[in-house]
């Protein structure tokens, strides 16, 4: 079968991949010698594996496919390669001959593969293709694995190794010259729309077919331009967004509403004007996958503007734990040098002390604003020398007003606002030593013990509750906050170790209000 014929037979099912199919078909054809190694690369959802499988099946080349993402260790991968090869060669019963199904190292793999391939009957001696899917995602891979696998084809003459990568390879990353690469680029706008339109519009009850065929192409391209293109969405995303939005888009037609402007016929532009709002609200929420999908049925009669999905009830914690979490939050969000001003017991109630605190809160907010702006400016113009720029600490009227125009600082936490979050601002959660948490706990306790002599027991109780909070990942050791990769099991909790709060401030604020603590009193920009 000629490469052209392969491509034409497959392209009805997988359109827009003619070039890649022909390349693969000509490289892997059973009648011409293949390169010993072949690299197929492209980002996810570009049909790499599917096309490769389809081409191999059409060409009827004997082949084995190993999904590297299913292999836990390097050894596991090698064992799987051997096993799948035996299976493809129908030599499964002879597993004891070839290393008893065990393979510890790549050099052993070469020997075993050679034996297996040599054991084939003479009429089947020919090309054998070994596909290693997502090999760049292999866990625990030794760094020589890729280049070693690339050599397999040189050692075993009848073998062709196909490496499928989902990242763009560096030049000469296999340490050998002239390995043919087949690239699967992301689908262009035209291709993506073509693919979506090659299947019919989702069926909506009560919608005339004629309207559907007329409006749907426009709808699909609008969805691409507004939602999928800017977010680099893949084809499955594109399809699911279209499926979800289409019934809402044509809802006016189904409900028998009459368009404005004296015309009885709905055309695309009228529908678009009527439904502008879906692209803003539902469209954006459609981009984000949630574990619990939106409950509103797609065929809802009226597109509801308000969010119908109530956020599930926020969890409530026991009294003591709430207080600890609150103190952890405050410790994370208050600069340490201001502790004496905010938390000292000696100046807690006088008017001047309050004014002083309010002043510092405002000042902090302005500072963080200024920092955020500065970083924004630095991002926009990387050529600006960083040296010589001092943090703007002077409060002018304009900075104040701009500071108060934006949202309150209490909303910040992981992520936070788009411009405000960052490693260095006042508004991101920072780590704190445990002793500071204890001290702040004593400062904000709404029911302080009547006799100050009996406070001593609290610290030990705090540790116990903190352990539970840590298990819930509400408060985490600072090291694991930065690098989540650390194992969950054993971290030492020394007095000097730093901790960090790990949840959003709004929720903690609510909780703290429940037990009579006003968080805003101590935060930058709170209470204003």
């Amino acid at each position: 079968m000629l490469p052209k014929e392969v491509a034409s037979s497959l392209s009805t099912q997988w359109p827009c991949r003619d070039v890649q199919m022909r390349q693969l078909a000509s490289l892997l054809s059973p009648h011409v010698p293949s390169p010993s190694t072949l690299v197929v690369h492209g980002i996810s959802a570009t049909c790499k594996s599917t096309i490769l499988r389809a081409v191999l099946a059409t060409l009827e080349v004997p082949h084995a496919i190993v999904r590297s993402s299913e292999c836990i260790t390097g050894r596991h991968l090698l064992t799987k390669i051997i096993w799948n090869t035996l299976e493809a060669l129908e030599q499964k019963e002879d597993w004891e001959k070839s290393g008893k199904g065990r393979c510890e190292h790549v050099s052993g793999l070469a020997v075993l593969l050679e034996e297996c391939l040599a054991a084939r009957p003479v009429e089947k001696q020919g090309k054998f293709v070994l596909v290693l899917d997502e090999i760049d995602r292999q866990r625990d891979a030794p760094h020589t694995l890729l280049s070693a696998l690339a050599r397999l084809g040189e050692i075993v003459p009848s073998l062709c190794v196909v490496l499928v990568l989902s990242s763009t390879p560096r030049p000469l990353f296999l340490q050998s010259a002239a390995v043919p690469h087949v690239s699967f680029p992301p689908y262009t706008r035209k291709e993506a729309i073509h693919i979506i339109l090659s299947s019919n519009a989702p069926v909506v009850d009560g919608l005339p077919d004629e309207t559907s065929t007329r409006v749907y192409p426009y709808f699909v391209s609008t969805v691409y331009d507004s939602l999928v293109g800017p977010t680099a969405g893949s084809i499955p995303d594109f399809r699911s967004i279209c499926d979800r939005l289409w019934p809402r888009f044509v809802a006016p037609v189904v409900n028998g509403e009459t368009p404005q402007g004296g015309n009885n016929e709905w055309d695309f532009s009228r529908l678009l004007v009527k439904n502008r709002v879906i692209f803003r609200h539902q469209g954006e929420s459609a981009l984000v996958h949630r574990i619990v999908p939106d409950e509103t049925p797609a065929s809802a009669k009226r597109a509801p503007l308000a969010k119908t999905l109530m956020p599930s009830a926020l969890p409530s914690l026991p009294y003591f734990s709430t207080l600890i979490l609150t103190s952890a939050y405050l410790a994370s969000h208050t600069p340490q040098r201001l502790d004496t001003i905010f938390f000292s017991k000696f100046s807690s109630s006088s008017l001047s002390a309050r004014n002083k605190r309010a002043h510092h809160r405002r000042r902090l907010k302005v500072l963080s604003q200024a920092q955020a702006e500065e970083r924004q400016a630095a991002n926009d113009d990387p050529s600006t020398p960083k040296k010589g720029k001092r943090t703007k600490t002077r409060i002018t009227k304009s900075t104040l007003s701009s500071a108060f125009a934006t949202s309150s600082a209490t909303t910040s936490a992981i992520g936070g606002g788009a411009g405000i979050a960052g490693p260095s601002t006042i508004l991101t959660a920072r780590s704190f030593p445990l002793e500071r948490l204890l001290a702040i706990y004593h400062a904000i306790d709404p029911n302080p013990p009547a006799t100050p002599l009996r406070v001593a027991a609290v610290a030990d109780r705090i540790y116990a509750e903190l352990a539970t909070l840590r298990r819930l990942r509400l408060v985490v050791p600072a090291a694991s906050h930065n690098a989540m990769a650390t194992s969950s099991g054993n971290t030492t909790a020394d007095a000097g170790d730093k901790w960090c709060v790990n949840v959003s401030g709004d929720w903690i604020g609510e909780l703290a209000k429940g037990i009579g603590v006003e968080v805003g009193e101590w935060l930058a920009g709170g209470l204003d």
């Binding site: 299913e70 969890p315 026991p318 002793e435 004593h442 027991a457 609290v458 989540m484 969950s488 007095a495």
Partner: protein
């Protein structure tokens, strides 16, 4: 420095009496010497150890050690028996309380017992049955179960789910905890092993590994699971993560992406137990991981409910003979509301309370119904006579005029031993009646009030302090009962009849039934106290409006009904005032009422940090001082670490080591007038410094090389 001073300082002196004030922990001695390899842990049945000392006494003799062995053993046995009974009750009540949760979840259900399997379980089960990757857009079907802070409630749900799936032959549930998942390899191994042992047992797992065609696979290869699923014909394999938040997010992502790629061969369903909220959980996972999951949200909440239920069963059960007093109760519930506490922890605290009662109270032997020979120890009677309640009882008897009885009780041991169990029985009966009355009040409140929730524990605390009968709660309850119409009253009587067994209650119900039988068609009857039966009259007198309330004319049945209501209210009031007594007034209440706040509170809230700080800052609170004068300030007689710690307390956040050394040396210099050896003091200093470092109170400062940073402050 002379030799004595040095020995004192180093703690080397042979005079061991110095240490008598402190407990010294000695690890149990092993038979093998330190150099040998520790023996391998093997599964050996522990019977051998038990046989060594069969007669070991668990409790120590009390009454200054004069208590006889039999009585000690009786106390121990009584405790064991009591706890095994109560434990059984707790398990039953926990099972039931889960039913209550189920009912709360779906309020439409009425009959509690018939719908055990309803609610969350049915929902989750039908979710597991109905969903498949195809219905979830190719994602892994996921059930998110929020359980609040009560993680243990999930395990009951899971075991029932497992039972149902296995019995239907559809699949099974594998429970995974964060402790089982240190890394991907071990996690997979654990999952595979748990899945196979769940249905085939441990031997089945071994056979499964060996009896396969082909090479032996690695333990973490999901091919094994694939094989298993094919052999068993499993349709649903539910993987439940009990504490999902505690899993490492990176590991979870790896695991889920692995499941996703196997989803076409192994029918996974993931069940995540969440303690906080779905949003928080979702927010913490990477987007790529969230994109793999799709499913539904279920809710199981309320640990407090469960605890209330346990408490109610323990206290109000008719065959209870030892009760928890007011202080203990309030301590228990304080813990539940203030801290993360599971029902299991709650029952452990209750167990400890019972144990400490039998352990420390020699009179508790009376609860074991001993024969009089056991009690015939002279100190025992003395102990009874020293009870405050005995004194009160005698005073009451004297006031009543039965002086002879008092004299007998004070002087004749036999008489006292004979009489005490009788009084004990009688008073225990009164306690039981009291708790029945609490249940009556609770039932009435539940029936009459819809808005405010009053639980048994609140009522019990009031009743145990003798305040319930005069409280506003009861007054309001009686007032509302008066206004009930006949249908509701009938329902209330039906519920009360289970608790009050008096003939009067039965008679009232009879009368009400006959009354209702005569007037079937007139709808529910209203009593004269009902708001609808009073009529407000408006009269204008001298241009003023007078409002006067008056009884509307009541129909014949209504009058009769009002009579019945009056009788019921009277019965209730009499019953409550009779039974709701102050338990502290009862004779021998020290025996059947445990009300000491202290061992419980201290035991479950240990204070290691406080103890260490105290030991370091005032060491002679723990160690015996060799000199007679109690010293408050630093002296060379104290252990070196304690001296250094006190000096450290005086300093700021950064301490210059040289200054510290100077001060330390100064302490020794002033005490030893004859001059002391620099090198010895220096070695003490280094030892103390490294000990403080081991405690974690100091660390090296990065700001200044010759400074130490303070990392712990005293009194936090």
């Amino acid at each position: 420095m002379d030799a004595d001073g040095l020995n004192d300082a180093l703690g080397l002196s042979n005079d061991k009496s110095q240490n008598l004030g402190a407990y010294i922990y000695q690890p149990p001695k092993h038979r093998k010497s330190a150099g040998e390899r520790p023996s391998k842990r093997r599964k050996v049945s522990s019977t051998a150890d038990k046989d060594e000392r069969p007669d070991r006494q668990h409790f120590v003799p009390l009454l200054n050690g004069d208590e006889n062995a039999k009585s000690v053993q009786l106390r121990y046995d009584a405790y064991q028996e009591l706890w095994s009974k109560q434990e059984h009750k707790i398990q039953v009540s926990q099972a039931n309380s889960w039913v209550v949760i189920v009912i709360n979840y779906s309020p439409g259900l009425k009959n509690i017992l018939e719908d055990v399997d309803a609610g969350v379980l049915t929902d989750v089960l039908s979710f597991v049955r109905d969903t498949s990757p195809q219905t979830c857009d190719g994602c892994i079907p996921t059930a998110l179960v929020t359980v609040g802070s009560n993680v243990s409630s999930l395990s009951r749900l899971l075991s029932r789910l497992n039972g149902q799936l296995i019995s239907a032959g559809e699949g099974s549930v594998v429970v995974l905890e964060s402790g089982d998942a240190p890394n991907l390899k071990t996690t997979l191994k654990n999952i595979i092993r748990a899945t196979v042992t769940n249905t085939d047992g441990n031997d089945g797992y071994q056979r499964f590994l060996t009896d396969r065609a082909g090479p032996r696979l690695l333990g973490y290869d999901l091919d094994l699971l694939h094989d298993y699923v094919q052999r068993k014909g499993t349709k649903k394999l539910v993987l439940a993560l009990r504490d999902s938040e505690a899993f490492d997010p990176g590991l979870l992502t790896d695991l889920l992406s692995l499941f996703k790629s196997w989803l076409d061969r192994i029918p996974f369903t993931v069940l995540l137990g969440i303690s906080t909220s779905v949003e928080l959980f979702e927010g913490r996972l990477p987007r790529s991981c969230v994109a793999l999951l799709q499913g539904k949200h279920f809710e199981v909440q309320e640990a407090g409910n469960c605890v209330d239920r346990i408490y109610e069963t323990l206290q109000t059960d008719p065959d209870t003979n030892l009760w928890l007093g007011r202080n203990v109760t309030s301590t228990l519930f304080e813990n539940t509301s203030d801290y993360f506490q599971s029902p299991e922890a709650f029952s452990r605290m209750v167990k400890y309370a019972y144990m400490s009662h039998f352990f420390a109270n020699p009179l508790a032997v009376l609860l074991a119904n001993p024969d009089s020979t056991v009690l015939a120890q002279n100190k025992f009677c003395e102990a009874i006579r020293n009870l405050p309640s005995f004194r009160m009882f005698c005073e009451d008897l004297v006031e009543e005029g039965s002086i002879n009885q008092v004299r007998d009780m004070l002087e004749v041991d036999e008489y006292l031993i004979q009489e005490a169990p009788k009084y004990l029985d009688a008073n225990q009966q009164r306690m039981q009646n009291m708790f029945q009355a609490v249940r009556v009040v609770h039932t009435c409140l539940q029936y009459t009030q819809s808005s405010k929730k009053t639980n048994v524990s609140d009522l019990s605390i009031r009743a145990l302090s003798g305040e319930l009968s005069e409280s506003t709660i009861v007054e309001e309850m009686v007032a509302t009962t008066k206004t009930l119409d006949s249908d509701k009253l009938d329902g209330l009587l039906l519920r009360l009849r289970e608790i009050i067994m008096g003939p009067e209650a039965g008679a009232i119900q009879e009368d009400l039934r006959t009354l209702l039988g005569t007037c079937v068609n007139s709808g529910p009857l209203r009593s004269g106290y009902n708001i609808n039966s009073t009529v407000t009259k408006t009269t204008v007198v001298q241009q003023r409006i007078l409002l006067s309330k008056g009884q509307a004319d009541l129909s014949e049945p209504a009058v009769e009904y009002t009579n019945i209501v009056d009788r019921l209210v009277a019965l209730l009031q009499v019953h409550l005032t009779e039974t709701l007594i102050n338990p502290q007034d009862l004779f021998l209440h020290e025996i059947f009422l445990f009300d000491l706040r202290n061992p419980l509170k201290e035991t479950f809230a240990p204070r290691p940090r406080f103890a260490i700080e105290r030991a370091l800052s005032t060491p002679f609170d723990y160690l015996l001082s060799s000199s007679d004068v109690t010293m408050t300030k630093v002296s060379a007689k104290q252990p070196a670490t304690a001296i250094l710690y006190q000096l450290y307390l005086d300093s700021g956040a950064l301490v210059n080591v040289h200054d510290l050394w100077q001060a330390f040396y100064g302490v020794f210099e002033t005490e030893e007038a004859g001059g002391c050896d620099d090198r010895v003091v220096m070695s003490l200093f280094y030892g103390a410094l490294s000990e403080l470092k081991a405690f974690g109170v100091i660390k090296n400062s990065r700001k200044k090389t010759d400074h130490l940073a303070k990392s712990a402050w005293m009194g936090l």
